[in-house]
């Protein structure tokens, strides 16, 4: 029996996880949300923006990161709309532009006008090189952008009061190195949970002003702006999924210690 606990069939593990994730979808659960200092700092940065501030969202959201980054982006866009910020969205990954069309629609539903209140820049390749070019001369980097009230009001990267970087990789570090630190612009890293260890030291040192990490970060932000969205719904599923994994770990260790004792006794 105890040996079985060490060799639970993979199909049982998978079926259990699927069940745990499905339960909150059938019967929604209300779980408390603990606001982390990273998410609180991100919220405070946007909250402190004067009305009409220019905000750059240099985003590289794509389908693999959508589950975590999209609720974060939507929650922060809701907050930026409340603050009446002028939003410039720059896609920095080839898969990103279709997402920006969706966010543009969301902004227009909130009364934003393209070219006056928000702007979608074209996708440019280059990743770190692109951020270096943006930091060096933002207007020249996007010199094919048609004239508009918002675009004409921007003279360079220093025209932005805040840079938000939704990404599931190293892009926040590139933006920090080439844009936010050299030009003293506040920055929020909006990241997948797995990236947090890379970003955390820079948040602790103050180089990155705020961090919204993973679905739990998105849920925290949704609860701060009081606009419940997909993250708050998803957190129940994630919580139960974590509990299932922890239960499996506990069972595996019970089996390990029980059989180890037997083996030791038998020798």
């Amino acid at each position: 029996m105890m040996e079985r606990l060490q060799k639970i069939d993979r199909r049982i593990i998978f079926a259990g996880l699927m069940l745990m994730i499905a339960i909150p979808l059938v019967k929604p659960l209300q779980l408390p949300v603990n606001i982390s200092s990273e998410t609180r700092a991100a919220y405070d940065l946007i909250e402190a923006l004067p009305s009409g501030s220019n905000v750059l969202i240099a985003t590289s959201i794509f389908p693999s990161t959508q589950a975590e980054l999209e609720p974060q982006t939507i929650a922060m866009l809701n907050h930026l709309v409340k603050k009446q910020a002028k939003i410039v969205m720059a896609p920095c990954y080839p898969d990103t532009p279709p997402y920006l069309l969706k966010y543009a629609k969301m902004l227009e539903d909130a009364g934003y006008v393209e070219g006056i209140d928000y702007l979608n820049l074209p996708y440019l390749a280059g990743e770190e090189t692109l951020y270096a070019a943006m930091g060096s001369d933002f207007k020249k980097t996007y010199d094919q952008t048609p004239s508009s009230e918002l675009w004409d009001s921007i003279s360079g990267v220093k025209s932005f009061s805040l840079v938000i970087v939704p990404n599931g990789g190293r892009h926040p570090l590139y933006v920090m190195a080439h844009i936010s630190t050299p030009h003293a612009i506040d920055m929020i890293a909006s990241i997948t949970a797995v990236v947090l260890p890379n970003v955390q030291p820079y948040f602790n040192s103050g180089q990155i002003g705020g961090v919204v990490s993973g679905m739990n970060g998105a849920a925290e932000y949704e609860s701060l702006v009081q606009v419940p969205g997909k993250a708050l719904q998803g957190m129940a599923a994630q919580s139960l999924g974590h509990l299932w994994i922890i239960a499996l770990v506990v069972l595996g260790n019970i089996g390990y210690f029980a059989t180890r004792g037997k083996k030791a006794g038998g020798v």
Partner: protein, 211 residues
């Protein structure tokens, strides 16, 4: 013409590297202008590199079809998808409803599904790897479980100190390790950068021999 393949790329690397690097240290307008010009062109070259990548993928796929290699039939799907979707985007525009519909109804669910599998593999891997076999494994196990529980709402229901402990693990030991790794990587990158600029590192021009 060996200089065209070997020496010219190294000379370009040297000039561009020195100019962009110097621009970070000196406030000199002509230098900044030249550095900006190089950076703008690098964005353009990156776009060309993407085209080159797609063309290479098509070439490799065509070769697999011609040689009837294993699963060669799937290369037809790949080639039709690349060429068809590119042509649709070029002629109908990237805001075309059909273009967006293919992206949102095929590409997004397919990629999201593949990444979702990771949750199942992780569950299985955690179950097998988190065994308290020795002191290091116990530390890993306790830290892993604490952070997993501390990051979800239910953690504070179980024990209200859990989120704080999880935060401490992330802010203190984890940050310390990541900082030391970061410093090590940065020093290594400075070394590689300098070797590339002065031409000692030649891998990028296809040369394997290094002096």
């Amino acid at each position: 013409m060996i200089w065209l393949k070997n020496d010219l790329p190294r000379l370009i690397t040297l000039v561009v590297g020195v100019v962009v690097l110097a621009d970070k240290f000196f406030a000199f307008d002509p230098l900044h202008g030249l550095s900006t010009w190089f950076l703008q062109y690098s964005v353009l070259f990156a776009a060309f590199a993407m085209i080159l990548g797609a063309a290479n993928l098509l070439r490799v796929s065509a070769h697999k079809i011609r040689a009837k290699k294993q699963h060669w039939q799937y290369n037809y799907v790949l080639m039709i998808a690349i060429i068809g979707y590119t042509l649709l985007g070029l002629f109908a525009g990237t805001k075309n409803p059909l273009y967006l519909s293919i992206y949102n109804s095929v590409y997004v669910p397919a990629q999201a599904t593949i990444i979702s599998f990771m949750a199942f593999w992780l569950a299985s891997a955690c179950y097998r790897a988190f065994r308290a076999r020795n002191l290091q494994a116990v530390i890993l196990l306790v830290a892993g479980v604490t952070v997993m529980l501390g990051k979800i709402g239910i953690g504070s229901v179980i024990w209200e100190a859990l989120p704080g402990i999880a935060g401490w693990i992330q802010n203190v030991p984890q940050s310390a390790v990541m900082r030391s790794l970061g410093v090590g990587i940065a020093i290594g990158m400075v070394g590689v950068g300098l070797r590339t600029i002065v031409g000692i590192e030649r891998g990028f021009v296809g040369g394997g021999d290094e002096s």
